[in-house]
């Protein structure tokens, strides 16, 4: 949104395309009573930007052309400059019972509630890692959920260091205070993670580990996510250089591919502030307003330091590698259990022999999990970067933009 707005301000013809039904992507989801969201939605609404919602980009058939699939057709998008802001997704780690209905990501459950899922009076255990846990817990509580506990796998000392480092970020401190108020009375435990989820047809209780001891907590939902992984599939398809799992960009957010820019979580997991400033820089750079873009470098430096802080604080502890049992399903699309994966020494071998990663999620769930469990690296990306109808791949039903 930020990129589109700033580019449009420069009088350049710009379009924005997103799979979701309306603006805001995954986090702002069509409107959140949040200052930044309201401000940027207003700017976007008034800007001269062509909005293409409900369309999934899936392929680049030739240079400077993208194909996006909608509900009943596909559209061809011709561009001179491209800003990729594909965001991030939650990291899921397998543990016994994690496939039970009502075990969801933290952001996942929040998204479901935002989409109308009734949560009032329900008990929700929140677990995993990252600042998202607190945001989600506060949101759910505000909508009437009961939160028996929040389990953060990071250590108390990591969190203390994080807290101390926040002194450089007054915004974050006030956000933190607000969250603390909203979560008053909710037990928050560090050094804690889920060991198993239990239930028949759906979740009934969760066993958690807290500093070596176990606890069984009856609940209706488990909101569990282990921080975020960047969505680099489209940048990979476009040929962008990736380093350490993130898209490499220069000072102007340009990737290794000329006139393809990348902003937000795919370059580093840094939250809303970093995404907004990178988005603006990318938008301005795409419109060749380099002087204007430079003005935002300081703000970006600061936001990037926060990203590095997040990365350090919420690193996954090795204990989490012991969570899956032999029967625990790791690839949910193809139901491949942990024991079958342990027979193989590479992602490629495991994929060919067990089908892990060959399902519709295209490795988006099992990829980060196996990367953590086995240090496997996924192989290259092929179109479609997202499952689409056969007729869309066949080029049927095309309209041009």
């Amino acid at each position: 949104m930020a990129a589109a707005v700033r580019t449009a301000e420069c009088g350049v013809r710009v379009g924005i395309v997103d799979d979701n039904a309306t603006f805001g992507g995954q986090i702002w989801r069509g409107g959140t009573p949040d200052g930044d969201a309201v401000k940027w939605h207003g700017l976007l609404r008034d800007a001269d930007v062509t909005k293409l919602y409900g369309k999934r980009v899936f392929h680049q058939p030739e240079a400077e052309v993208l194909l996006a699939e909608g509900a009943d057709d596909i559209c061809e998008l011709r561009y001179t400059n491209l800003v990729v802001a594909t965001g991030a997704r939650e990291r899921f780690l397998p543990f016994p019972g994690w496939t039970l209905p009502n075990v969801m990501g933290a952001g996942g459950l929040q998204a479901m509630v935002k989409s109308g899922l009734p949560i009032r009076g329900k008990r929700v255990v929140v677990a995993g890692t990252g600042p998202l846990l607190l945001v989600v817990a506060a949101y759910l509580r505000k909508h009437g959920a009961e939160i028996p506990i929040i389990c953060e796998q990071a250590s108390w000392s990591s969190l203390a260091r994080f807290g101390a480092a926040l002194f450089g970020y007054p915004d974050k401190i006030s956000q933190g205070r607000q969250l603390r108020k909203e979560l008053a009375g909710v037990p928050f435990v560090a050094n804690s993670w889920p060991l198993a989820a239990h239930g028949g047809q759906s979740l009934e209780s969760v066993t958690i580990s807290r500093s070596g001891k176990t606890d069984v907590i009856p609940c209706d939902y488990l909101a569990c996510g282990f921080h975020l992984v960047p969505n680099v599939e489209l940048p990979l398809l476009l040929g962008c250089q990736i380093r350490g799992g993130y898209v490499q960009v220069d000072d102007f957010q340009q990737t290794s591919v000329k006139r393809v820019f990348c902003a937000g979580e795919p370059t580093a997991i840094g939250g809303v502030e970093l995404a907004l400033v990178e988005g603006q820089i990318a938008g301005l750079a795409a419109a060749e307003e380099t002087a204007e873009a430079r003005k935002l470098f300081g703000e970006r430096r600061k936001a990037r330091r926060f990203a590095a802080l997040l990365d350090r604080t919420f690193r996954l502890r090795p204990d989490l590698k012991d969570l899956p049992s032999a029967e625990t399903i790791v690839c949910r699309c193809e139901d491949v259990p942990y024991s079958r994966l342990q027979e193989h020494r590479s992602w490629r071998a495991a994929k060919l022999q067990t089908r892990c990663g060959m399902g519709p999620c295209q490795g988006r769930v099992c990829g980060p999990a196996t990367q953590f469990l086995f240090q496997w690296n996924p192989d290259s990306v092929r179109p479609p970067v997202f499952p689409v109808r056969v007729e869309s791949l066949a080029g049927v039903g095309k309209s041009g933009e």
Partner: protein
């Protein structure tokens, strides 16, 4: 430079290399198989896993039929993840000209003892309701089958391993004269060296005419019951015959998972692994012409692979001229899975002086060998 000695060293752990290793090991020989990637990772990973009798020539028929019978015999020993399914093939005729070809094939196969049934337009629709209306009919070959090749290759390598076969990981720089020299310098000595490197065979043995013939495939999400047989349009033969141009043909396969595998395409001179958007579109449009219902299905993945093609469309199986230690088991084009077992038998029978079960002359590398091509 260290050196290890085997009776047989096979380059290539694809389905052909694995089948050969299995056969050599069965006869008590000490085998090493060398591959720079995982077992079954080349065309073996990319292909359709079709076990099919073909009648382009007597020699092709003999090899495919012999091998199909070997697969049938092996079937009870195959583990579940090999997903062997005798779903049969239907060669689909769009018009009367193709129906004439159906009759010809039916006559040919009947004479040679392969059970087939001619299907008229109604019978075809009954067997495969999702084919479009207005097709002329087809030929059902009920003994054809499909399987999942990477697991079949792994199964054969594991069996060979139980008899002592070693799998060596690494890139090969040079082969011949009784040894395989790896890129990092190590040499593996073998009385018998087998080039089973598929699309890369001519890099290791200059002088053999193997060209890469690129193919594309698409796999859908699960739609159980949509398709029962492997379906191939008779126009496929025109595509496989053409030596120079890019072509697509309607060819779909049901997986045991309920997913539909959609092919096929053939391109010469395309060396890049990238998915070619134009060919993919043509291929899928062709598929939709035959089965319109495919259009709204979810396509989950696309990929490419390289078949190893020879000028006369028959594989190279047997001793390589000019080097008494070197043997070839390559050039299988789109029939690698089908003919892997027969290839192994013929090769090993030849080396151990056992009597071959079919005439081997049509597959000998010495046919049309070019003496002059050595750097």
């Amino acid at each position: 430079m260290s050196s290890t000695a085997y009776e047989v060293v096979i380059v290539g752990a694809g389905i052909v290399g694995a089948a050969c290793a299995d056969e050599f090991a069965l006869r008590g020989m000490r085998v090493a198989v060398v591959d720079r990637d995982v077992v079954g990772s080349g065309a073996t990973a990319a292909g359709m896993g079709h076990i099919v009798v073909m009648d382009d020539s007597e020699a092709q028929f003999a090899l495919t039929r012999y091998s199909q019978r070997l697969w049938q015999a092996l079937r009870p020993e195959l583990p579940a993840d090999v997903e062997y399914e005798q779903c049969g093939t239907i060669w689909v005729a769009a018009d009367e000209e193709e129906m004439a070809e159906v009759q010809r094939k039916h006559g040919y196969y009947t004479r040679l003892g392969v059970p087939t049934t001619v299907l008229d337009s109604q019978a075809l629709k009954r067997l495969e309701p999702n084919l479009r209306a207005g097709l002329a009919g087809g030929l059902l070959v009920p003994e054809d089958a499909v399987l999942y090749p990477p697991c079949a290759a792994r199964f054969m390598m594991e069996r060979a391993h139980k008899s002592g076969t070693q799998l060596v990981s690494g890139s090969v720089a040079e082969i011949g004269q009784g040894r395989v020299r790896m890129s990092e310098g190590i040499e593996i000595a073998g009385e018998i060296i087998v080039n089973a490197a598929g699309a890369w065979s001519s890099e290791l043995t200059p002088g053999i005419e193997i060209k890469k013939r690129k193919g594309h495939l698409v796999i859908t999400d699960r739609y159980p019951g949509f398709l029962r047989h492997q379906l191939v349009e008779l126009g496929y033969l025109k595509s496989a015959h053409s030596v120079s141009s890019d072509s697509v043909a309607f060819n779909v396969q049901p997986r045991r998972t309920g997913q539909i595998l959609i092919g096929s395409s053939r391109q010469y001179g395309a060396e890049q692994k990238d998915v070619d958007h134009d060919i993919l579109r043509r291929m899928l449009q062709r598929a939709q012409e035959y089965m319109p219902g495919l259009g709204s299905m979810s396509a989950v993945r696309t990929w490419t692979g390289f078949r190893a093609a020879t000028p006369d469309k028959l594989p190279l199986i047997g001793p390589c001229p000019g080097d008494t230690s070197l043997f070839l088991a390559t050039g299988h084009e789109g029939l690698g899975i089908t003919t892997s077992l027969a290839t192994a038998r013929i090769l090993v029978d030849g080396i151990t002086d056992a009597k071959a079960e079919i005439p081997i002359e049509p597959y000998l590398p010495s046919r049309g060998w070019k003496e002059s091509v050595h750097a």
